[in-house]
């Protein structure tokens, strides 16, 4: 019986310790982290979406070849020589938090004006637009909207437009210039695509490409159509978008960039920048990395924990010759903070 109290103490300690540890059990789940899924490649759902959208078959081969290459009409409509061509998955983005905040910035008057153009009163203008694309080429700028657009009456948007039939399934609305605005040309193709530009030739060329079933040359490869925003940005627009302190360097180094943005939850941007000089591209990468690090430090100083967490996963990566990839994450909350005032 000697020292039995030690045995009692041992039982109590080991039993109590076991009970305590059981309360803290979490297994591997406690160690899991939220890794951000940057849109760096086409995923299964992107591929499925791209396949469904390839509805345009070239006229000369469609009848003869069963495996004729089909194209996405929206991408065919964009000028193949566009310096900048960006597609926004409006239908998805507008339902995401960042899209809701953007909508708050559209004035009630503008909303009412847009809604008046919808023929079917049970439908909202916002439900009709699937994708919106902007393209900037040497000939001018073009805006394309894709969706269930046969429900929209263009003449209500532009009552003084002159309407022409063009090609096999298109109409062109020409709005003459006046003191307040320059001339505007709107092309409607198959009730699913609306093309708008101040340059009539751009609209007609887009309709011609669509009527011919598309060509091999597009503004960017269809396999690059993934994320909620995607496309290419030319040098001039890149320079405009760059932070002021990096504009000169971007002008000297960057030729163009490919962009992919995931905007479902957080805003995750992937930008592949290509330049002409490997050393200069590397230096630009270092400057971008430093800018991210400074941003992270400022966020940390201001106690923006969510931003710090996302900035921790933001990075710049050099790959190949003369190419770099920037992966930047921004909390939706920060993106929408400046827009909230619009709703008031």
């Amino acid at each position: 019986m000697r020292g039995i109290y030690w045995l009692v103490a041992a039982g109590t300690l080991i039993g109590g310790g076991g009970w305590l540890m059981t309360q803290g059990d979490a297994g591997a789940a406690a160690h899991e982290r939220d890794e951000l899924a940057f849109p760096t490649h086409q995923r299964a759902n992107d591929l499925e979406r791209e396949t469904v959208r390839r509805t345009l078959a070239p006229l000369d081969t469609a009848a003869a070849a069963k495996d004729a290459v089909t194209h996405d009409p929206l991408l065919v409509a964009l000028p193949p020589d566009a310096d900048t061509a960006l597609v926004f998955e409006a239908g998805t983005i507008l339902r995401a938090p960042v899209g809701q905040a953007m909508l708050a910035c559209v004035s009630a008057e503008d909303r009412a004006h847009m809604e008046r153009s919808v023929i079917d009163p049970s439908k909202s203008w916002l439900d009709l637009a699937d994708r919106v694309a902007f393209a900037s080429s040497p000939a001018g700028e073009l805006v394309a909207v894709q969706g269930k657009l046969d429900a929209i009456d263009i003449t209500k948007l532009a009552p003084d437009a002159v309407v022409h039939t063009y090609g096999t399934s298109a109409k062109v609305y020409d709005v003459a210039a006046d003191d307040a605005r320059p001339e505007l040309h709107v092309g409607v193709w198959s009730g699913s695509l609306v093309l708008t530009s101040h340059t009539r030739g751009l609209v007609l060329a887009a309709l011609d490409r669509l009527d011919s079933g598309g060509s091999a040359k597009l503004a960017f490869d269809e396999r690059e159509a993934y994320g909620e925003i995607y496309g290419v940005i030319g040098q001039a627009d890149l320079e405009r978008l760059a932070p002021p302190e990096l504009r000169e360097r971007v002008h000297d180094v960057a030729a163009h960039a490919e962009v992919h943005v995931d905007a479902i939850e957080e805003v995750l941007l992937v930008m592949d920048v290509e330049g002409s000089d490997a050393k200069q591209v590397e230096d630009l990468g270092k400057s971008l990395g430093a800018a991210l690090a400074v941003g992270r430090l400022e966020a940390k100083r201001e106690g923006e924990d969510a931003l710090v967490r996302l900035m921790d996963q933001s990075r710049v990566r050099l790959y190949g010759d003369r190419r770099l990839r920037a992966e930047v994450a921004v909390p939706t909350d920060i993106m929408t903070r400046s827009m909230r005032g619009c709703g008031k």
Binding site: G24, A26, A28, K286, L297
Partner: protein, 278 residues
């Protein structure tokens, strides 16, 4: 208490004369010196732009130095944690066996020292040794990496101290085993087994579904319920070192449970010590 600390001090003096401990100190010092000379980091405005190890460029992303160093500190924390516990099990296995060796234990018991003071003093001495080792190893690597990267943090050192706490629980059982079987090999085997079983126990919730529902699963859960959650604390240490979120209440429960296991094991040893005639 003074007597207990005197026992601990004597153990530390004895430890310093051992080749194992000297080898550990030399190995850590040599590794730090080699790394200090071989590692070059280019930091531009707080962003880690390039790293060279032994003159060769290590390809990585350009990102904030703090973010880039997170996986490095995480890896260092794992190495220090598991390496430290493993080395502690090997290097300290024979302290107990030597303490109870014929001739020495009779001499010690003839002194005005109580048995519990002798056991607790030995335990405290070994734990002090492990804390000093962790501070030296983790401190040296942390200072080196901080100087090179410009990211100053004490988190890897805190992570190393968690390894010491974990080792203390395992050593409690090792010291108790020496009172049943006076053998350094058995003590090392007990320590090694507890380390492996502790890794398994940390994932018991994930492993339990692999057993058939019923008796086999219940047996597995019961068998692992009392074991220290070594892997869980190692993961928390790595998360802490790499500035990731740590569930502190959960970590505190694991640590208190772990320390209770160590002290409980020591109490079992004390029970055996009190019964034993030398």
């Amino acid at each position: 208490m003074r007597v207990t600390l005197a026992v601990a001090r004597d153990l530390l003096v004895e430890a310093l004369q051992r080749r194992w401990i000297l080898a550990l100190w030399l190995a850590i010092t040599a590794a730090v010196i080699v790394l200090a000379m071989a590692l070059r980091m280019e930091v531009v405005d707080g962003a880690l732009a390039a790293t060279r190890l032994f003159g060769h460029a290590v390809r990585h992303d350009i990102r904030s130095a703090e973010g880039a160093m997170q996986p490095v500190f995480q890896a260092v924390a794992y190495v220090i944690f598991y390496g430290g516990v493993f080395f502690g099990v090997l290097a300290c296995a024979d302290f107990g066996a030597e303490l109870f060796s014929p001739g020495r234990i009779e001499h010690l018991l003839a002194l005005p020292i109580r048995r519990w003071q002798l056991l607790l003093g030995t335990y405290i001495g070994v734990i002090t040794l492990s804390v000093v080792g962790a501070l030296y190893g983790a401190g040296a690597f942390t200072v080196l990496l901080s100087v090179k990267s410009g990211v100053w943090t004490v988190r890897p050192i805190v992570a190393a101290l968690l390894a010491s706490v974990t080792f203390s629980a395992i050593y409690g059982a090792m010291l108790a085993s020496a009172l049943f079987v006076r053998s350094a090999a058995v003590a090392a085997a007990v320590g090694g087994m507890l380390l492996v079983l502790g890794i398994i126990a940390g994932y018991r919730d994930d492993l339990a579904p692999l057993f058939n529902a019923g008796i086999s699963r219940a047996t597995f859960l019961a068998a692992t319920a009392l074991l220290p959650r070594v892997s869980q604390i190692a993961n928390a240490a790595a998360d802490l070192a790499s500035s990731h979120a740590v569930d502190f209440p959960r970590l505190a429960r694991s640590l208190f449970g772990l320390e209770a296991f160590g002290l409980g094991s020591l109490a079992v040893g004390m029970w055996q010590f009190e019964r034993k005639d030398f």
